[in-house]
């Protein structure tokens, strides 16, 4: 089966500009996650979707970050306006339905550099 697809792989922007990342999870995976990973650190959860509903967005900086999963399949994460500290890899992951202890399948990530 095809893996989790993310785009773009790399993005360089200046601070205060906006950026959007796209994720297409594995077919049939109801749960979708967006993580932020600062270089060398563990991933930090930004938002978790179950189908098209938000399960957890407690760590999402809502003044500048937004995410949607309108049809319960692919998802978009947007940052507007970007700050220097947003430089990170944004990882998308998905999980099989009904499996909260199951494996997370990750995409290759989108590396953002904010200048």
């Amino acid at each position: 089966e095809a893996g989790v697809a993310q785009s773009p792989r790399y993005k360089i922007i200046e601070k205060r500009q906006s950026v959007a990342f796209w994720c297409n999870p594995i077919s049939g995976h109801a749960t979708l996650y967006w993580y932020q990973q600062i270089l060398g650190q563990g991933p930090k959860l930004l938002i978790q979707f179950q189908n098209n509903g938000v399960v957890d967005d407690s760590q999402l900086p809502k003044d500048r970050f937004s995410a949607e999963r309108l049809k319960g399949v692919d998802s978009t994460l947007k940052i507007q306006p970007a700050k220097l500290e947003d430089s990170a890899v944004y990882l998308c992951a998905s999980r099989r339905p009904g499996s909260f202890t199951g494996e997370l399948f990750f995409g290759e990530g989108s590396r953002l550099t904010v200048l």
């Binding site: 202890t101 494996e103 290759e108």
Partner: protein, 109 residues
């Protein structure tokens, strides 16, 4: 917020040596996973442990879940250059998965 601290943060050892990575928390988890991440890629699952005191072996890797389900360890025997990577523990609880701080392992040939 559940926190998972990993130690050491960085580890560089010679090929053939043994090593242990620790993952500690003050929170109880229903299960714990270990992932390995290589540069430019997403994390890949190595193992899931669900029972306190559980030990799982994956070739030269041995994973243990603490009796109280608050901590875990990963032991690698006779490390090889292919073991190089970022090792991440991740705890499940309250329908959430929290990742640890990570251990960057470098095996020197």
């Amino acid at each position: 917020t559940q926190l998972l601290e990993q130690s050491p943060q960085f580890l560089s050892i010679q090929e053939g040596e043994n090593l242990t990575v620790y993952c500690n928390s003050s929170s109880v988890f229903s299960s714990l996973q270990w992932y390995r991440q290589e540069p430019g890629e997403g994390p890949v699952l190595l193992v899931t442990v669900v029972t306190g005191g559980e030990v799982k072996k994956l070739k030269r890797l041995t994973f243990q879940f603490g009796d109280a389900r608050k901590d875990s360890s990963l032991h690698i025997t006779a490390a090889q250059p292919g073991d190089t990577g970022l090792y991440l523990c991740a705890g499940s609880g309250n329908e959430k998965l929290t990742f640890g701080t990570g251990t960057r392992l470098t095996i020197i040939p």
